[in-house]
Every structure is written in C-alpha cells, then in structure tokens.
C-alpha cells in the first residue's frame, strides 16, 4: 500500500486524467498535486513575471490557482483530500527534486502545446527515465 503519491499537474486534460487515476488507484494515499510555475515559454514571460513579482510566494500561488482549483474539484468527486504544492522553473527538474520525498509519481503522458514541448521536451518521458521512485504514466 502506497501512502505518499506525487501528481505533477499542468492545466492539460492529461494531467486531470492522471489525478483521477491516482485517486482511483491509491484511494488511501496522501496525494500531493505539484504545479510548476514559470517554466520556459516562447517569450519567457511567465518566468520573468514571477522573478519580478514583489512576493514570489504569493505570485506563484496565484499562477497555480486555476490548476489547484481544478484538482480540488476532481478530488471532491472522489471524496478525497489532496495537498497542493507549487515549484518554480523547469518542470522536469522541479518534479525530480520533489519525487524523492514520495513513494511514487503519477503523471499525464503529455500536456501543453507543441512549442512548450519543444522548449522542455516530453516531461512525462523524462520523469519516467530519471525518477528515483516508480512512475505511472497515464495515457
């Protein structure tokens, strides 16, 4: 029985699927939804915006709010509670940094636009290859 599950989420449909799967497969686990804000983008607006914010913590939470709202909605459908956490920068690095503290990672197979994939590559694939803990890729 796994007790600590990390679910990295962006605003994509696949990420929502991953959370649903995690809730179904690990009903008794503590699930943490991780959102990585300010990743590489076509003009680096997100990253710079956060760097220039007066309160980094607050600005990051604001960025993640939509994703977390959606995550809480999904969790509510399963009568489950989830924790949320926000990290900054490159999604792969940020997720890997957190993965150590968990027993498994459940991640959507892909998300984002073609451009985003060009800048950071396929996040799920990289997590799958480099994660220190077992990874479930939801497709």
């Amino acid at each position: 029985m796994l007790s600590r599950v990390l679910v990295p989420m962006d605003d994509s449909e696949m990420a929502a699927q991953a959370l649903k799967y995690a809730l179904e497969a690990h009903p008794d686990a503590e699930i943490t939804v991780l959102h990585v804000a300010g990743g590489p983008s076509s003009m680096w607006g997100g990253a710079s915006g956060l760097a220039l914010a007066d309160d980094l913590e607050e600005a990051s939470q604001e960025h993640a709010q939509d994703v977390f709202d959606r995550a809480h909605e999904i969790a509510a459908e399963y009568d489950a509670e989830i924790d949320t956490e926000v990290q900054l920068g490159h999604p792969v690095r940020a997720i890997l940094k957190q993965a150590d503290d968990y027993e498994t990672v459940v991640i959507g197979s892909h998300g984002g636009t073609v451009a985003e994939r060009l800048f950071v590559g396929n996040v799920a694939q990289k997590i799958f290859r480099r994660s220190p803990v077992p990874v479930t890729v939801v497709r």
């Binding site: 003009m43 760097a51 220039l52 980094l56 920068g89």
Partner: protein
Amino acid sequence: MVETVLLVGVVASIFVGFNIGGSSTGIAWGPAVGAGLLSKVAAAGLMTFFVFLGGWTVGRNVMDTLAGDIITIEISLAAGVAVLFFIGTGILIANVFGVPVPTSMTTVGAIVGLGLATGTANFETIGWIVSWWVVTPILGFWVGAMVGRYIYPELNRRVQIEKSEGALITIDRSGSLPRPALGPNSTYGELTGTIVVLIIGCYMAFSAGASNVPNAVAPLVSSGALEANPAIFIATIAIGVGGFTIARRTMESVGTELSDIPLLAALVVMTTAATITTALSWIGIPISLVMASVMTIVGLGWGRATRPITARDAMRGETDTEITTGALKAEPDTPVTKIGEEEHEEVLSADDLFNPRAIMKYVSMWIIGPAMSTLLAYAFFVVVPGVA
C-alpha cells in the same frame, strides 16, 4: 510570363507581410491592449502608420542589405519568389506551432542559401550580420539584467501605471468652449502613464517596420521587378491587414506572454528592444524584434532573481556582504506561516526560473531556424538551377 511570376511574388510578399503584421502587432501592442489602455483596432491603426514610417525611413538600409549586399549579384525575380516562399514557410511554422522563428534570420538564411548555390555569397557581409546576431541577444540580456538588478526595484516603487474605472478623458462642456478634462477616476499620473505606453508602443511599431518591411519585399526589389517605394507600400498594407485581423489573436497570445510581466517591465523591454532593433536597422543589419525582446525579458527576470540583496535590506542598510550566499540571496523574506497554514518545506527560489540549459536550448532555435532555411534554400537552388 514575367507579369505572372511577379504576381505570384507579390502574393507571396503579401502573405509574408500579413503574417509579420500578425506577430509584430502582438509584440508592439499586446501589453498596452492587455492593460486596457487602447482598443485592438486603435492599436492596429497606430501599428500600420508607424510600420510605414519605419519601413520608409530606416527600413531602406535593411532593404539595401537584403536586396543587394548578401549576394554579389541581384536576386532574379524567379529566385526572389522562391526565397519569399522559404520565408513564408518559416513564418507558417512559427505561427502554427507557436515557435519563435525570427523572420529576419529566415530571410537572410534563404538568401545566403541562394548565394551558396550560385557561388555568389558575400561572406564579408554575412559575417558582419551574423556577428551582430551574436551580439544582440547578449546586449539585450545585459541591459535587461542591469535594469532588473539595479534600477527596476526603485522604478517599481515610484511608478504606478494603472487603469482606473471610466473614461480616461472626458469633454468638459461647462465652459463656453468644450475642452477635454480628466475622466471621473483619472489622475494626471494615469494620463502620463498612458501617454508613455502609447509612445513606446509607437516606437516599437516603428522599429518593427524598419526591420520587417524589407523581409516581405526585398527579394522582389533586388531584380528591379518592383521599385522600393511601391514595395514599401505593399508591405505596409499587408502588415496593416495582418494587424487588423490575425493580430487580434496574437495580441492575446503574445500579449499574454508579455502581460505575465508587469506593464512597467514590459515598457523597459520594449524600449530596449526597439532601440536595439532601430539602431541595427539603421546600419543595415537585418534583425529580429523578437530576439532583442526575449533576451531583454530573460535578462530583466534573471537580474532581479539573482540580485545579491533584497531591496528592503538595502534600504535598511543591512548589507552584510559576508553572508549573501545563503539567507539574503534572491529569496524574498521567508514567508511567515499563518495560523492554520501548512508549513512550507522549502522556500521558493527565483533562481530556479532561469535554468541556463533551458535558456541555451531556447537560444539554439535561433541557430537551427536560419540554418535550416539556408540548407533548404541551398538544396532547392542546387536541384532547380534554372530558377537562380
């Protein structure tokens, strides 16, 4: 026959101009429109006028480079049309996939490909252009970093650009002559701020015209099939049409990217990018507005993220440089845990936002894009020698 080829060329020019209008209007006016300071239609109108001004004046220097200096012979009409198709393809890829492929670089790449295939490449000019392409991002980054580190925090404290409810300016009809007055919630500061945003937007539009008008038409101007003046008109109209139509979307997409940074920062970025772009266009270097903009954005964020001490500490005079490595570096003050709030295991670090490898990966696209364009054009002109 020549008329048909020219017609195809002009259509290709219009396609290129139309797409340039879409993307550069987004960059020039996205922040102002996003801040609700002017309408999209007004933005497109101002864009068209200042693009024309930029193309008509400074743009001629870039036109000369593209049309006459990169290769030692003139670009024949047929070859010019082919080059335009390569430029158009680059833009299409950029727009469909949302990847920043700088148009100016694609253009130069395609013309260099033609030059290599025909053995007419002018390596002196090409080297000169490429060296500026290396310097520009570094310059943009440096200016951004300096401002972000030393000037921005102070600037941010002093300058507030806001949009209040209601019209900015109303007409005061109480006197014998109607005269403009500030709107219900407006302040003089807001009026000044709005005017500054508009001026900088126009400056950006001007530099977009200077650097981008030649991309759309220079391949046709080279052979003399099209005179420079009507060519500038054609390009302006095409860019304008793009500004009034597809820019509605790009002002949102590119605008959102730029709106992620505070308006004040966007203004710093635009001023820097427009100045670099105008100056290089002046000396005839084809340069992309996007390139200067993006690197200034990265510089600004990086400079702010890695500043050695927080502004508040500096004000208090607590600048013990001995201990800047850890506690005082970059992170804002450790957040006070509110009652009932879960304790954060790690404090977020803005340093993480600018991973050097991610930036390198991004910059590599500026090498791949023009390299692909050069290779494809070279292959094409070798395989189909009749065109060149």
